[in-house]
């Protein structure tokens, strides 16, 4: 009887393990599947002309250069606003803020900011930046809108990275005659930098792939030339993909998948950079 039970238990455990392994594999499948599928469908569209040319024939032919450049501009524009602000906010929260009602309110706001649907950011950006501040439909307005969306990601990962630096470093530094700010600059930020960078890249990566926030604030259906100033509207990969997939009749399918592939590569590259930074820093870390 005991033996039977023991054997039974063993096989139950084995079934359990198999199930868990299967579920783990199931999470990988959609990603690998999507990449392979898009590579297969869109790979043939990729050519020098596709990457460096303007669309023509009502976007049914030619390249997607303005969309690529536009997404680059938007990502950089987002970085310009969200990175300094996000890191500053994280430093305040991790290093200076005491646990008061105010800081709890700030934290609550950050958490909720992260939960807002992206289209709501788009509408907010339209109201504030495009109309009220009169930036018009522009790279500037779109970058600011994307920045607000990216901020919670940057703030929370940067705060986490700052907090993971051992407290004893701060105590020792201050005991050696450093001010708080010197300690942050020379020790804490330096040690937290890889973690902060990872957060920044992950945040920007999300910004690069979003359609809804730029829909009303900066994205253009088609532009015959590249944007010249931050006050120009721009084409962008995610929006271009949306346009050619839904708004253009008789759109050649491989151009759609080719565009998707370029966007995917753009975002995945950022992801890989973040991963490399993180693992390198981990290997070098002295604590």
């Amino acid at each position: 009887m005991m033996r039977l039970l023991a054997r039974n238990r063993h096989s139950v455990q084995r079934i359990g393990y198999s199930l868990i392994t299967l579920m783990a594999l199931a999470t990988v499948l959609p990603i690998v599947g999507t990449v392979i599928f898009i590579l297969f469908k869109g790979g043939s569209a990729i050519s020098w002309e596709f990457l460096s040319g303007f669309p023509h024939d009502g976007m049914r032919a030619g390249g997607i250069l303005p969309a690529i450049i536009g997404t680059l501009y938007l990502t950089l524009g987002t970085a310009v606003f969200s990175v300094p602000l996000g890191i500053a906010a994280a430093i305040y929260l991790a290093e200076y803020a005491k646990d008061t009602a105010l800081t709890r309110l700030i934290r609550l706001a950050i958490i909720n900011l992260a939960g807002i649907p992206s289209v709501v950011y788009g509408l907010f950006g339209l109201g504030l930046f495009v109309l009220f501040l009169k930036f018009g439909t522009s790279i500037l307005a779109a970058s600011l809108t994307l920045s607000i969306m990216t901020l919670p990601v940057i703030i929370s990962t940067a705060e986490e990275a700052l907090r993971s630096v051992p407290q004893s470093f701060r105590t020792v530094s201050i005991s050696l005659g450093a001010t708080r700010w010197q300690t942050i600059r020379k020790i804490v930020l330096k040690e937290a930098l890889p973690g902060i960078l990872t957060g920044v890249i992950l945040g920007l990566e999300r910004a690069a792939g979003e359609t809804a926030p730029i829909l009303f604030t900066g994205a253009a259906f088609f532009l015959p030339r590249l944007p010249q100033t931050p006050f120009d509207a721009t084409m962008a990969l995610p929006y271009h993909l949306f346009v050619i997939s839904t708004q253009v009749p008789e759109m050649p399918i491989q151009i759609q998948y080719g565009t998707a592939l370029v966007l995917l590569v753009f975002v995945l590259t950022m992801n890989v950079i973040a991963t490399v930074i993180r693992s390198r820093a981990r290997a070098k870390r002295q604590w």
């Binding site: 051992p166 004893s168 470093f169 701060r170 105590t171 020792v172 530094s173 201050i174 005991s175 050696l176 005659g177 450093a178 001010t179 010197q182 020379k186 020790i187 330096k190 040690e191 870390r285 002295q286 604590w287």
Partner: protein, 256 residues
């Protein structure tokens, strides 16, 4: 408590309470002699570390509910809000219980405080590195690998580098909070020997990690119990013929 001549530090009626109600100090008054090792000993939670952290105002980083009294170093009340705490911390250095090498090379650990103080001249920095590592009795062991990360050293070596890091700032007072608690007996011996050498030029205040270490190192010893200073006397008397019953019980190992 009639040790008054050549006092580097005068603590006058110092009381303090942390916000979380942990350790506290009650009405501590004592003079601390120049060029001697003064040992603060007693059971955990007695207020020894708290007192140390008052002497370089490191307690500023902690939430304190209330404090009163004065600490005079060279006649100046360092608890005065107008005190330049940066200058104070350069003058009153501290070594912690666990060695904490900063995440940089051995050399950078030593020069960190000096560079913050504005010293940029390579010659001066090199001089300080050699001088302070020698004073901390670690020079011979690290002189060929000053650019290696300090964390790669053994615990005992790290702690002596930490001592050298303090010495590089040419302090006048050195606070040591159980500096050998994590070290083996040989490393402990080296640190203690270094202290005996250092006391010729510095005022040393040590929280020892055992009564034995207190007895070995103390020129003067102060026994703390639950935030109060029970007895303060020359080390020799304290560990052979304590006046207070509580001190005797603790020194004899009847509680602890």
């Amino acid at each position: 408590m009639v040790i008054t001549t050549m006092n580097k530090i005068e603590i006058e009626n110092l009381s303090l309470q942390y916000s979380d109600g942990a350790e506290s100090l009650r009405g501590i008054s004592m003079g601390i002699r120049q060029n001697a090792v003064t040992v603060l000993f007693g059971p955990a939670g007695g207020g020894k570390s708290t007192l140390l952290r008052c002497l370089n105002r490191l307690n500023d980083l902690t939430d304190i509910r209330a404090s009163s009294g004065r600490i005079l170093i060279d006649g100046e009340n360092i608890l005065d809000p107008k005190t330049d705490v940066i200058a104070l911390r350069r003058k009153v250095g501290m070594v912690f219980a666990r060695p904490v090498p900063l995440p940089m090379s051995i050399r950078e650990n030593i020069t960190y405080g000096m560079e913050l103080a504005g010293e940029k001249r390579r010659v001066k920095l090199d001089e300080a590195v050699e001088r302070s590592l020698k004073l901390a009795a670690i020079w011979d062991e690290v002189k060929d690998r000053l650019n290696d990360p300090a964390v790669a050293l053994s615990g005992g070596q790290q702690q002596r580098v930490c001592l050298a890091r303090v010495l590089a700032l040419q302090p006048e007072v050195i606070l040591l909070d159980e500096p050998t608690s994590g070290l083996d007996p040989i490393s402990t011996g080296k640190v203690e020997a270094a202290l005996q050498e250092l006391k010729k030029n510095y005022t040393i205040i040590l929280v020892p990690h055992s009564v034995q270490q207190a007895a070995r190192t103390a020129d003067h010893a102060a026994f703390f119990l639950q935030g109060e200073l029970i007895e303060y006397d020359e080390g020799k008397k304290m560990f052979t013929a304590p006046k207070e019953k509580k001190t005797e019980d603790y020194v004899m190992g009847r509680f602890g």
